[in-house]
């Protein structure tokens, strides 16, 4: 459930986007969804999407359609860190297969699942355009390249340590 206070925040975000003169009509909905997703850390709650539909005077189905079409958006609550593993051939044949296996083993989750501690969600992605330093993964907005199984585990542990320290 999204609290009233959070819903108020959603309203503020939508108003902010609607009143932003630099944005054109076609850009409003996707911008709202991006900002709401940033606010809720990695997902858009269904209640918030309904609110957007009401405020923009659009059918809820249209908002939901956009939300579920693009892979950057999620309606499921995801972990604080979304790990996107490139599953395309250039990464796959240069060690991506092993990276994937190492991540699944270390995090004890499969694709589109979140770890028990709520920190990580594992996702698959198409090519990220960094094949020069493959294999590549992306954690939230950071890229990591030239990976090995050890490096990947190091990165995960570093995040875990930061989180337990804070």
């Amino acid at each position: 459930m999204v609290s009233d206070k959070e819903m108020q925040k959603v309203e503020e975000i939508v108003n902010g986007v609607v009143n932003d003169d630099s944005l054109e009509e076609g850009d409003v909905l996707i911008n709202c969804l991006h900002k709401i997703q940033d606010h809720f850390i990695n997902f858009v709650p269904v209640e918030a999407a309904e609110k957007v539909a009401g405020m923009l005077d659009m059918p809820e189905s249209s908002v939901y359609e956009v939300l579920t079409f693009y892979t950057m958006f999620s309606v499921e609550n995801r972990g604080k860190y979304v790990i996107r593993v490139c599953n395309s051939l250039p990464c796959h044949v240069t060690g991506g297969r092993d990276i994937l296996a190492a991540l699944k083993k270390e995090l004890k989750v499969d694709f589109n699942q979140t770890t028990e501690d709520g920190l990580f969600t594992l996702e698959k992605t198409g090519c990220l355009g960094l094949c020069g330093v493959s294999p590549v993964i992306m954690i939230n907005e950071e890229f990591y390249g030239n990976l090995t199984e050890e490096k990947v585990i190091d990165i995960i542990n570093k995040i875990r340590n930061e989180e337990s320290g804070s």
Partner: protein, 543 residues
Amino acid sequence: MKTQTVLVSVDSSSALRGAKYFKKYLDECVDNFSLTDMVEVLETGSLGVYRDGVVIAIYPDEVFYEVKDKDDVEKIVAEHLLKGRIVKDLLIDEKLVKEKIHPSEKVNKEQRIVLRNTGVIDPHLIEEYIARDGYMALARALKEMKPKEIIEEIKKSGLRGRGGAGFPTGMKWEFTAKAENSQKYVVCNADEGEPGTFKDRLIMEGDPHSVIEAMELAGYATGASKGYIYIRGEYYGSIENIRKAIEDAYEMGLLGQNVFGTDFSFDLSVRLGAGAYICGEETALIESIEGKPGRPRLKPPYPPVEGLYAKPTVVNNVETFANVPWIINNGADKFKAIGTESSAGTKVFTLVGNIINRGLVEVPMGTTVHDLIYKYGGGVPGGKAAKLIQTGGTAGTFMNTDNLEVALDYDSAQNGASLGSGVILVVDEDGCPVDCAKTAMEFFAHESCGKCTPCREGTGTAVRILDKLSKGQGKPGEIDQLLMLADVMEQTSFCGLGQSAPIPLRTIVNSFREEFEAHAAKKPCGVCVYEEPKKKKKKKARV
């Protein structure tokens, strides 16, 4: 004036190798050795030389180094910059670099049109672009040429779309110019998503103004006053550089009202993708700009007649646009002289997979697969042999090593190697064709938008069959089933995604039929792990 210039490539790939960090440390070292009056350290795009470390270039000496840690940086400053002595153990083969960086008349040397400024200028500074004849083509066009003459010049040059389909650019512009409407649009397709392709990313990061200038030329030629650059949401570096470039161009009066004091006005804005491969299809991209889910439209009408907001629209790829100012400046004949008869100019290839020099190379159309892998790519690492090659991207053709002499251009798909978006993917002897086919089809199954049945169900069915084969649970008859599936998908799918997904499937099965059959017979391949099928639960007998 400072006597020495150090260029550090800070494109996305280099950044992941630590380029920004090394650049900062380089600044510190230069300061520590009190060289700040003598040495200028600049950031630039990809230098076109690819190593495990970060590549830096020192001018006027024309020396290239590979930097892997802080000690390397310090050594270069203490030895080369301070004492003028070349640091041999960090040096990158000079001969090779010169051949690559400096275009020469000889065929098969790298020839730079699209990447003419990448790795040479600081992409954040509009002045540096202008100093290299930037915006000169636009100025000339606006003052001296009629829109019709520009279209004629582009048509004469033989420039064709670099995104994969290869439609003649001049004709596209002509259709849009002839469509009568008070509002027209120019759209740049920068939603680069074809696996293995990152040329557009490095063009936008290294030379953003060339794209802007070309879009304005297209606008003037076709009568459009508004442009959109649709960039992939994850391309942070490209987005930043393009946005900065647009801002600077507006400030200098090179965008906006009355460009160069003429009647021509042009506005440009950036739109971001939100993660959908299908948005690289032009009509899906248009839908996405309109704020809708990016599902392709029924064609015709084609975008030049009815595109964005149902207005005539030119849609071109980043690389296509980057050729345009060069053609206007140097003339169509000079462009046409490069490449092959059907395919003029150069092509930027991305070399990926099990290949030594992973990165970009720009060479004339008609370069052979063999040269791309061994001459420019340096061959396969670890002394291994190449086994499986895919050209053109994941939607391109697979081949074995029997046919490496095929010259790549728009016609070479007939000879078993498609040009596509210019990917050369090499898989070494340890790779397995069934595993590769499965990975490729998983990609299409994930990216299929679901609008039409042949693509949605066909990609899923292919994955299921390949998954069974890779687990040793397949049957020989299913290999022919894959080929049949490919035919049906190709003939009945709605858009380019479903029509081209069968190409890799068919070519990989045909090139490696024996190995597919070996999987059906459960012979070990070294990659796939065979499993016993899960037993189905017995249904309880009804009482």
